[in-house]
Subunit: 167 residues, 2 copies
């Protein structure tokens, strides 16, 4: 029942959602690999000097997406979410509001729950890359923006592209 097309069918609400759209010069197949294989996700996923030191991916709706990120001063952020949509090389959706197996996540809800969707579309020899973060309220959206969503996800995408070119 997953979507087989790639239409921008998400109702974007500018007060609740953050969007990053870029055209990058690696094909969707390599971007997909970088997002869905732990060994290929960890090298680029955090804007440096943060590092992703652990990653678990069970790539199916209801499956686990976990990353452990570590900062230069010893900070760490261990986040576990649940995949919702998996359309190879086209669309990946997960949420921090649910744990794997779809159970509501107490930890995700205490923080700033969001649902993220990565949409990939071929463009020339590259990819039109759209990342969308949907929040439950304006406060969550503002908090995510203040945490540096655009800069952070943008910088991570640059790291992804550098890494994925060698795939």
């Amino acid at each position: 029942m997953a979507k087989s097309d790639n239409k921008p069918d998400i109702n974007i609400d500018p007060k609740l959602d953050l969007v990053l759209e870029r055209v990058v010069d690696v094909p969707p197949s390599k971007v997909w690999k970088a997002w869905t294989v732990p060994e290929h996700l960890m090298p680029w996923f955090c804007p440096k000097p943060w590092q992703t030191t652990e990653c678990e991916i069970d790539l199916r709706p209801g499956g686990k997406f976990r990353t452990l990120m570590r900062g230069p001063a010893g900070e760490s952020f261990d986040g576990t979410g649940c995949y919702l949509e998996v359309v190879p090389e086209r669309r990946l959706t997960w949420t921090s509001a649910l744990l794997p197996g779809y159970r509501p996540s107490a930890e995700g809800l205490r923080a700033m729950p969001f649902t993220a969707t990565i949409i990939l579309a071929p463009e020339g020899k590259g990819t039109r890359y759209t990342a969308i973060a949907q929040h439950m309220d304006e406060d969550g959206c503002k908090k995510h923006a203040a945490m540096g969503f655009t800069e952070g996800w943008g910088k991570a995408l640059e790291q992804l592209v550098d890494y994925a070119k060698a795939l």
Copy 2:
């Protein structure tokens, strides 16, 4: 990517989850119809004297499931959730933690968020019916139990069976 089989693959945690299992004498096709078509859901969905006066169903992962329930003293409960798994005549999963389109639900999260799964398996001429409600913490589970999950969902199921026999 939805499950095509019907294995009880949910990790039930007795401290977090509520389960109702019954064998009923209507086939899975009729139980499915009663759960997935608004005009066939409204007659049985609330234990009487409560009534379901409105129902919206967009039967696909990410689609809307909304019911408006009204009590005898004028109380009302308007709940909107999001379908996660739709396997015709076998399995239906939705959550109150997300709105349609997978956005985290502020209203769902303020209340007692839960994910519900209805599993249907043919048994003789009837159906083995399993309803599971998964909660994020023990408090949510206890609250749902105290609200009368077993009695309420059990009584609604009896109403479903009476109604579905005539389908």
